[in-house]
């Protein structure tokens, strides 16, 4: 615990959480609206009415959309930022300099980012889920005519507290993937501006794929809980 650089960690946390907060909330709001519209479309088709839309949509939001959309946004913002930063340090030989000074670069650079990203991703996932649900509530009130009270009571039938916790767990996993992948590509960055560019691109792609795969694995695992 002592080896963790608290100040750096807090700065990173500010960058991760505060910097991405607005984008995450904005994107998640629209995702919620689409989810409600589409869920209502499907419900009407299968069981002729859409009375269970709030429950189903809330479940989909909590289990998938909130965490995944947040994580993919974080990847392209935070992951790309970290990869570019670390890659630039590698190219300008700052990492070698650290090693010369007897400082372990992994502990010095990666650990604060990892801790900050995990905490930030969990917080953002929870915020995103809440905002998404509130937004879904608004849309179903305005467009489908379910009052917030009906939405909540329908939600209670389907959603358990456990779901929110599992969403947070997913957020933590995704938050860990992002800095690890970004730092990996940053440390292996080839020299030159082009190297930094390709490290950034690769880290975003690999992290997004890993997030989708991991999401599948986690959903599969959680389904047995």
């Amino acid at each position: 615990m002592k080896s963790l650089r608290w100040k750096e960690t807090l700065q990173q946390l500010f960058f991760v959480a505060n910097g991405s907060g607005f984008i995450v909330v904005f994107c998640v709001c629209f995702a919620a609206m689409v989810t409600i519209l589409e869920a209502s479309f499907h419900m009407k088709m299968v069981i002729q009415n859409d009375s269970m839309v709030p429950g189903f949509a809330a479940l989909l939001i909590l289990k998938e959309l909130g965490a995944v959309v947040t994580a993919l946004l974080l990847t392209s913002r935070v992951g790309a930022g970290i990869a570019a930063e670390v890659g630039l340090m590698k190219v300008t030989e700052q990492i070698d300099a650290l090693r010369m000074l007897g400082i372990e670069p992994v502990r010095y650079l990666v650990l604060p980012r990892l801790v900050a990203c995990v905490i930030g991703a969990v917080l953002l996932t929870l915020i995103a889920n809440m905002v998404c649900l509130i937004c879904a509530m608004l849309v179903s009130d305005l467009m489908l005519g379910y009052s917030p009270a009906m939405f909540l009571s329908s939600m209670r039938i389907f959603v358990k507290f456990q779901d929110l916790l599992l969403a947070a767990v997913k957020g933590a996993f995704f938050g860990a993937v992002i800095p690890l992948v970004a730092c990996h590509f940053g440390f292996r960055c080839r020299p030159g501006a082009e190297g930094v560019g390709s490290a950034t691109t690769q880290s975003v792609v690999v992290a997004s794929i890993l997030i989708i795969v991991l999401d599948f694995v986690l959903s599969y695992t959680f389904s047995y809980l």
Binding site: A31, M33, H42, L72, V196, T201
Partner: protein
């Protein structure tokens, strides 16, 4: 307030860039070979990634729908619901997110590097139009190949859903496919592919604009890449909602009151 003004500024500039792009495209068409080259490049680069993303998105949706429907004993609908849900909503969005990381970042990095190393100015010096020579082929290439890739990703998502339906929900593939047409109608498929096309245009416009207007050395290129990814994703979610909403409105009109 400053942020808002800046955002509106950027939206306006991007729209003007898009207009200039369209004008160039029709007035002075680019070489056909260039467009084909770009299309081939982008498709080849991103096909494995997109296919994999599509497969897993389909798989996730199948697992989620199974868990929701098991309680109702409605697993027979799994094939239809999972396919329709993936095709109309989640599939295009998530796969386009993926592509914006891959294609968008790559293109804006490439164009940004060309801009800051003054290669774009060099093209202009030689009396050629950089929009016609560099941007329009890339734009068209990305639009064509992203539409194809998104389509391919959606097909893979059906495969993923089918596999997981078999493994997880014990719905045999025949059963799964047999129930697809009960829920998935032609309008739904059309909406899915229309979304893909819209997303492709959004993606192509933003990444070419960001790359083309990059300033300030290597750091500027890095900034361009990050803002490309972020603004693409924001526009994608907004367009996702707009297309869903419009599709709903059109369907209501077509169905009659």
């Amino acid at each position: 307030m400053n942020h808002l003004a800046h955002a509106i500024d950027e939206i306006g500039r991007t729209t003007m860039f898009f207009a200039a792009l369209l004008k160039t495209m029709f007035r002075r068409p680019s070489r056909f070979g260039d467009v084909v080259d770009q299309t081939w490049n982008v498709t080849l680069q991103s096909l494995p990634t997109t296919a994999m993303a599509g497969f897993f998105v389909g798989a996730i949706m199948a697992v989620q729908f199974t868990m929701q429907m098991r309680d109702f004993g409605a697993l027979g609908y799994l094939g239809g619901l999972a396919t329709s849900g993936t095709l109309r909503e989640v599939g295009p969005l998530l796969i386009a997110f993926m592509l914006s990381g891959k294609v968008g970042a790559y293109t804006s990095a490439e164009l940004g590097t060309m801009r800051v190393t003054e290669q774009i100015d060099a093209v202009r010096c030689l009396g050629a139009d950089p929009l016609q020579e560099l941007i329009v082929p890339r734009f068209l290439g990305i639009v064509i190949s992203s539409s194809l890739l998104l389509g391919a990703g959606l097909l893979m998502s059906v495969l993923g859903g089918m596999t997981l339906g078999h493994l997880f929900a014990h719905v045999s593939p025949e059963e799964y496919v047999r129930h697809i047409p009960t829920i998935l109608t032609w309008p739904s498929i059309l909406i899915g592919f229309a979304k893909c096309a819209v997303f492709a245009v959004v993606l192509a416009t933003i990444c070419t604009y960001r790359g083309y207007s990059a300033t300030g050395g290597a750091k500027g290129v890095g900034r361009a890449v990050v803002t490309t990814a972020v603004s693409t994703m924001m526009c994608l979610v907004v367009m996702d909602w707009v297309t869903s909403y419009l599709a709903e409105a059109v369907m209501t009109l077509a169905r009659g009151p």
